[in-house]
């Protein structure tokens, strides 16, 4: 068992800047959790507090049920992969892998066996006598992972391990991490600013902003049920289309979303959630994912400014009044003219419209925990 539990974890630096506010998180045994957010959101600081590289200002951190706030990093039974690999440049790959074991005063035979086993798994046996500078970025990354693996840790921490690699190698290494994870089967905490990495790797994703956790959920949850405007905008590629100054209407006991003068009767589920929260008609920001836009029908219209043929789909940038609308339109059975300069009608299915309170930015459907009881979100509630 190697659970990680954070209770009210907080980091305040000497200059009184609070980097992390009250993080509460329970990472289950063998879970792969990804901390994602923009630069300066506190994700790396949180990871470093778990590693013991940053002092915890307030709160409690438990690893495997043991309070480790004041436990030295080496005694936490964790291993970390760093962004810049942090390999010892003067040591060979073998010595890099063996270093932690040597410090633990393991016997030569044990060290050799473990190093060779890990090298075999990571396919770096042929590089054992080389020094890091004689390796490619991908190979160095494997050595960095191997160095963590030989320690057989309870928790594996990874701080943006792929950000120094080019796009092709990053995709390759991402797949390798997925394979590796199934092989070593331990708890992973992974930090990234790349939402694609977060979505593809994580069992659950923790989305952070300005030191606060905004949402914790599975990749599907955070994509389909973002709790606020930030999460909605951060997760998903291309970014969700936001229509400001829209209205939530209540007519004859039915809720409607009015987007640019076009009324959408909301789905049964949305009606129920809004009614349960006793939501009153108000000004909203409506969010529609580019993947959820349908062209050639509906009453909304936009003029296409850029039309990119991507093979299986068109990536369209259009202007709807003052709003820029991005649409991902499958090329199969497309009959509408989507060339540059064309004007197209578009719409979406009402249940795919995200409704955000204009004042607070909270999702009117998914934010409230009470609506979670109605089959829908499992997303936790956080103050932001």
């Amino acid at each position: 068992m190697s659970e990680v539990v954070m209770k009210g974890l907080k980091k305040v630096y000497d200059n009184k800047v609070t980097a992390v506010h009250d993080v509460n998180l329970e990472i289950k045994d063998k879970e792969f959790i990804v901390l994602v957010g923009p630069s300066g959101c506190g994700k790396s600081t949180t990871l470093r507090m778990v590693a013991g590289l940053e002092e915890i200002s307030d709160g409690e951190l438990y690893i495997d049920g043991k309070l480790v706030n004041d436990v030295a990093p080496k005694d936490r039974d964790i291993a970390m992969v760093f962004q810049n690999y942090a390999l010892y440049p003067h040591k060979t790959v073998y010595d890099n892998l063996a270093f932690a074991l040597k410090l633990r005063k393991e016997s030569k035979e044990v060290i050799d066996k473990k190093v060779r086993e890990v090298a075999e798994i990571l396919d770096i046996t042929q590089y054992l006598s080389r020094k890091p500078k004689a390796l490619s970025g991908g190979q160095r990354q494997r050595v960095a992972i191997g160095r963590a693996m030989v320690r057989d840790p309870k928790v594996f921490l990874m701080d943006e391990p792929l950000s120094n690699l080019d796009a092709k190698l990053r995709n390759q290494m991402r797949a390798e991490i997925i394979k590796l994870r199934s092989r070593i089967n331990t708890t992973f905490m992974y930090v990234t600013h790349d939402q694609t990495e977060a979505m593809t790797l994580g069992d659950r994703i923790v989305i952070m902003k300005d030191g606060y956790v905004n949402q914790i959920g599975t990749p599907q949850e955070v994509f389909n049920k973002p709790v606020n405007l930030f999460v909605a905008g951060f997760i998903g590629m291309p970014v969700m289309n936001f229509f400001d100054n829209c209205k939530l209407l209540l007519e004859d006991g039915k809720y409607y979303a009015e987007i640019r003068g076009v009324k959408f009767l909301l789905s049964e589920f949305q009606q129920k959630a809004l009614a349960q929260n006793n939501t009153q008609p108000c000004e909203i920001v409506a969010g529609i994912r580019p993947q959820h836009v349908t062209v050639g029908e509906g009453d909304l219209s936009a003029k296409i400014e850029v039309s990119e043929m991507m093979g299986s789909e068109y990536n369209i940038h259009a202007r709807c009044g003052t709003d820029e609308v991005v649409m991902l339109i499958p090329t199969v059975d497309l009959t509408t003219d989507v060339s540059m300069g064309a004007t197209v009608n578009f719409t979406t299915r009402p249940h795919l419209i995200q409704l955000f309170d204009r004042e607070s930015g909270k999702n009117l459907i998914w934010y409230d925990e009470e609506s979670a009881a109605n089959d829908a979100p499992v997303c936790k509630r956080y103050d932001f």
Binding site: K74, A79, F82, N84, A86, Y88, P89, A100, L103, R151
Partner: protein, 325 residues
Amino acid sequence: METKAAKLAAPAKQRAPKKKMSKERRIRYLKDNSPYLLMILPAVLVVFLFNYLPIYGVLIAFQDFMPGDKILSDSTIWVGFQNFERFFSDPQFWPLMQNTFLICIIGFVIGFPLPIIISLMLNAMKGKKTAKVLQTIFNGPHFISLVVLVGMLTLFFGRYGLVNNIAAHFGGERYSYFLESRAFRPMYILSSNWQDFGWSAIIYIAALSNVDPQQHEAAILDGATRFQRVLHVDLPAIMPMISVMLIMSIGGLMGVGYEKALLMQTDGNLQVSELISTYVYKRGLTGVPDQAYATAIGLFNSIINVVLLIIANTTSKKFSENSLW
């Protein structure tokens, strides 16, 4: 189908315009970099005027040269290696070699590792403010002139200096450190190291500031203690710098200056304080100047330095990846 001959000819054809290209490229390079080349020009001129042009003067080491003679004229008397032979048979040759060598080698053995140790210690200190204050204090003595330094030594170790006053206070005898041969080398070497260790540490401190902090963090997670981190992260990181400094120090090993030795020289310590440089100064510029002889001795000293530099560089190249060339 392409014939074998045509295939062989093809690269030759390709090579011809390549040469033309490189000329064009060279002109373009000069054009593109002209502002930078102009900026470096004064430095090149200074080095040429004050470092390379005077090499012309070494010719007098092979002449029967008197002050006022022209270095190259019809009346120049060439004597070959006579001046060098004179020096080798000079009764002062071995004492001079021994004195210079001992001062340099002991100074090097004590003085070379000292800044490395200091820089590693300052870098490993938790309190960075304290480390900076200490570094500033350590740098201070470098700015003291040699005359003042020797003056300070006199104040401390002179017959009526602080050390003797304290000894006398406790009933001890006054001791003339400056008149004692035994005291010359310790005073000379320790005061030199005291003056320069902080300054010499700067280059290592700068090199240490480039060490990736993540390497330290990785070592912490690996379970390394502070001392182990110094050994496994910091020291290897500055090893290339240490190699370069080592080569340069060995290259200048016999190049000890004459000023401080002359200032500290007394009749009592002359047998150990007479160095090659002081001897060159005395023979070349005082009394009846014998400039040809002094130049020959100086040239001999320089040749030893060059040989040492080549040996150090070759050895370093062979056993490590670092060398000057």
